[in-house]
């Protein structure tokens, strides 16, 4: 079991009436070490990880996949001199999950410097995952120098524009967006008019009961604009998803787990498999954070996502690489 018991946890049983603020914050605080936050009928519920029924509930989901992010292959600075080893650990973590995920989502910054050998290494390492299907969206580090040409050649088959696309799995509609191209001076992430138009059209035919999962590299909510942790035109994108009962937004980029629920939308960011970054505003810049070697893997991780049709329950489980 990838989840560990945390003595600080109070939420050993789930609250049948939904959650209060205190409970929600606990759930958030837990995210880095293995929390189970379940969205049922639009209400976030928290489970202690020692709660067997909660785990079982997640394990029996109808759609299960894993999100990994920010592998930064090629990075070799003090914050992590061996990003190959930590990506390998992430793959081992995936292979050890109680329910094999149907696919892997990589939410960008596959490479550190967009070098062909960096992409090759990640592709090679992911081949040892028990799950063979991997879906990508690019991070800003994957589209350096060539406006994303190489990225599209490698990962852009069956995508539109700069690499955006959608697909359906077991009744869930998944949408991969690209918000790292044509960034404007002084701005944050950007989707652009063409992609927004495509998105509006892509969801037009869906019934409002269709669960929607959107994934993109940079956060689609304003986490910390001072560091560019947001997307300039994300509100426009989210306006097209307002009518859906269940929307989940999965991002990377900030190298730490964070979660917010706003109406029908659950926002979640995954940890990196390479190096941690500071909490918003907690350092002079968002640069790689050097931590004592024994703490590194506790700050890296994967996110397991399970969707259960019955009750529209979506579970997000973050587990570290320890």
């Amino acid at each position: 079991m990838p989840l560990q018991k945390n003595d600080d946890a109070v939420l050993s049983s789930h609250n049948p009436d939904g959650i209060d603020r205190r409970g929600f914050l606990k759930c958030m605080a837990w995210a880095g070490t293995g929390a189970l936050c379940v969205l049922e009928g639009g209400v976030l519920k928290s489970y202690g990880i020692d709660n067997a029924s909660g785990i079982q509930k997640a394990a029996k989901g109808e759609l299960s996949f894993v999100q990994i992010s920010d592998s930064h292959m090629g990075f070799n600075k003090p914050a992590n001199s061996d990003v190959i080893a930590t990506l390998k650990a992430a793959v081992q973590k995936i292979n050890a999950l109680p329910v094999a995920p149907e696919f892997i989502l990589h939410t960008g910054d596959i490479s550190h410097l967009s070098k062909p050998e960096e992409f090759d290494t990640v592709d090679q390492l992911l081949k040892s995952a028990s799950t063979k299907d991997v879906f990508f969206v690019p991070g800003e580090h994957d589209v350096l120098e060539d406006d994303g040409k190489q990225y599209l050649e490698r990962y852009g088959k069956n995508t539109k524009g700069a690499g955006w696309y959608s697909f359906d799995q077991k009744g869930v509609h998944l949408i991969g967006l690209v918000n790292v191209m044509n960034l404007k001076t002084g701005g944050m992430g950007s989707l652009g008019a063409a992609q927004l138009e495509w998105l509006e059209d892509d969801v037009r035919h869906l019934s409002k009961s269709t669960p929607v999962i959107v994934f993109a590299h940079m956060p689609l909510w304003n986490i910390y604009p001072e560091w560019g942790w947001g997307t300039d035109d994300s509100a426009q994108a989210l306006s097209y998803l307002k009518r859906f009962g269940s929307v989940t937004v999965l991002n990377g980029h900030i190298h730490q787990t964070m979660q917010k629920v706003e109406g029908n939308v659950t926002f979640h960011t995954a940890a990196s498999t390479a190096f941690p970054q500071p909490h918003p505003g907690a350092a002079a810049s968002p640069g790689p954070m050097k931590v004592p070697a024994e703490q590194l893997r506790g700050l890296l991780g994967i996110t397991d996502v399970t969707y259960t049709r019955k009750g529209h329950a979506l579970a997000l489980i973050d587990s570290t690489l320890e």
Partner: protein
């Protein structure tokens, strides 16, 4: 704030102003040594420089993350600068050039060529 802390704070900021002023004087003068801009902690330092036409400007990336130096009007554009890599250009055409890092667009700077 206690009084002695306050005095210390004022002294420090006065000192900082003096350093900034001397750096500005040096950059205006230009000269054979050229002008350096350090890229550090996701910012350009100094963020605004004024140079004489013909001055060489060199940006050096001191961060553990790659950055670029791209003018808003695309009149100049560096390649991606990894740690310790440099980008040098000679300021030829007088004018004001706003620039940014195309990877981290919150990073902005300005070059005034006199």
């Amino acid at each position: 704030m206690k009084r002695n802390e306050w005095i210390l704070c004022v002294t420090a900021s006065t000192l900082l102003a003096a350093i900034t002023l001397s750096a500005a004087e040096r950059t205006v003068a230009g000269g054979p040594a050229g002008v350096d801009v350090k890229i550090d902690n996701f910012s350009f330092a100094p963020a605004a420089i004024t140079v004489k036409a013909g001055t060489q400007i060199t940006w050096t990336n001191a961060d553990d993350i790659p950055h670029t130096v791209v003018s808003d009007d695309r009149s100049f554009k560096s390649k991606v600068l990894d740690t310790d890599e440099k980008f040098t250009l000679t300021a030829s055409q007088p004018g004001t050039y706003s620039y940014f890092c195309s990877i981290h667009p919150k990073m902005t700077g300005k070059v005034v060529v006199e």
